[in-house]
Symmetry: C2
Subunit: 380 residues, 2 copies
Amino acid sequence: MRFFINRDRFVHDVQHVAKAVSSRTTMPILTGIKIVAKHDGITLTGSDSDITIETFIPNEEEGTEIVRIEEQGSIVLQAKFFAEIIKKLPGDEVEVQVQDPLTATIRSASSVFNLNGLDPEEYPRLPQIQEDQVFKLPQNMFKNIIRQTVFAVSTQETRPVLTGVNLELEEGVLLCTATDSHRLAQRKATIEMNDQSLQLSNIVIPGRSLNELNKIIDDSNEYIEFVVTESQILFKIKHMLFFSRLLEGKYPVTKGMIPNQSKTSITLKTKPFLHTLERALLLSREGKNNVVTLKTIEDNEIEITSISPEIGKVVERVQSTEITGEEMRISFNGKNIIDALKVIDSEDILITFTGAMSPFVIRPVDEDHYLHLFSPVRTY
Amino acid sequence: MRFFINRDRFVHDVQHVAKAVSSRTTMPILTGIKIVAKHDGITLTGSDSDITIETFIPNEEEGTEIVRIEEQGSIVLQAKFFAEIIKKLPGDEVEVQVQDPLTATIRSASSVFNLNGLDPEEYPRLPQIQEDQVFKLPQNMFKNIIRQTVFAVSTQETRPVLTGVNLELEEGVLLCTATDSHRLAQRKATIEMNDQSLQLSNIVIPGRSLNELNKIIDDSNEYIEFVVTESQILFKIKHMLFFSRLLEGKYPVTKGMIPNQSKTSITLKTKPFLHTLERALLLSREGKNNVVTLKTIEDNEIEITSISPEIGKVVERVQSTEITGEEMRISFNGKNIIDALKVIDSEDILITFTGAMSPFVIRPVDEDHYLHLFSPVRTY
């Protein structure tokens, strides 16, 4: 194998596939990045067996030469060193050469690295994916969906299925749900499909996969293609394939959970309410439980209180735009509300309560494609 | 106690004194910041008994009111919460009130915090400092001196005196030295003194004190006054006093260590040489010893090599401006050289070797007020 490649592009793609590589793997070959040179370009693969990322760098793009293949071949190089080395190389071009089958020579300007490699034949094959359940979304929309849901997945391994985001597809509407059983984030999106009758349910993508994918996709309106199988999902983006394992198990049915009536409704400015809760949390997080209490008072105001016996107490009044219904006094995990408020883009929110001991909903006033559900906390 | 204060200025000064506060203290009172309101302004104090920082916020400055004292008094408040709370307060002004002697009420806009405090009478007194050994330096110059020396102090507690930077003052020249016994950084500066005959030696300031001080002082040419006593040094900057304990013990005499002849001299561009060493270190730091080898070759070039048997090898040629004297092959800790090259501001450096087993010196070509000394590493 021998090829010359534009350094910036090589660094860019190596950093992408390196995101899948974990140093804590039981298969030593997976600590490496697989490099394959064929007549039309270079393929890079990184994997931790849950996530696999493959990118292709073509010989030329838009009339500009990126890669010049002198000899086809392949090798696996330690991701950790390889990624750092090419990032620091002095020249604009990098030469990669494999003479002895398990050693690569990397040259750039006055710099020559000899790196011990691993046998590419030992590298696991990519999963074979049947392309019959396919739909697509613009990258920037999916970035938003990830941002507005993934923070709410469970970090506890006691119910593994809750560590993922659940996708349901029905009548062209994608419903994405994340919950750790104390709070739930739900986001809807209209999608484009080849097959209009496509229905999907219980597609649970690990939160970690979505977080890594989110680092790679950009804010453009180019499409991501989703290919769904029994145990895998494949995200196709231009020259990149991103495979993720799906979580096994039955995702809880959330349809009936969201209350559709209300005893008390409060309309609030998002940002000031967020800042009030952040101040309240300065004390309540010391008590480890993050408990904050909200109370409706006179003149359309609410009062936010938090007490930490060791440190002190904070009381703050917030002006609401409107309060309708009964008086309300309720305690909740302030940190969970803050997480949700941070991903709400609307200026105004509506909180609807159905009782001091019942779940309540926060949704943007001007949009109906996402909502957040929270359990209250018992304080006595 | 009751006063109103400009929030931004309060946050600024509280953050300064909070730098001295450590959560790992055996004296609970030192987890707090002492706040004293007198008729002319507010004094804040933070300390971990090694470092003490005191700032004064006057009632007004340049015709603008900063503080309005309603009632004099004092309290000690938990640094961790207090600093975070005032940073997040909603209003431009903060009211601090102590009614019950050990509870403070902090009000700002719609926010009201009640914080449990500690007894200010228990707070240790500031060290009394005799002002007879005094000199001064511009802040920006002292910032540079810290940057160019403190990185070389020892992090090992086996010889505590080496964890500090040693100051010697003679004939109006301040000599600052840091060494961990493998490398040495030395910097000279001409200073201003009230007493021209002032001589100082073995003034060893803990590296940590200098790092904290460096975060507080700015790049201006305003002066810092240095007041030196037997066991303490006091830095006076405008409204701030920064006290540091001095390290006990005899600092090694470094005068005779710096070789004044040379067998081989190499002149190099600083930045390209730094980048070459950074690439070499990618491999050698895996071997834990950071060993890099330098060899003079033909055509005024040097060759930098680093080998890590597990990972591979790097060889790189560097063009020097000039090589004089004998051929040289020497191995050293590449990390130590990188640390030094990063604080050298000159474009060109001169390296002078006295032998493959003897210490060598790196100094800027165009300046003579600082130098770096290194021990070679035996590789056989």
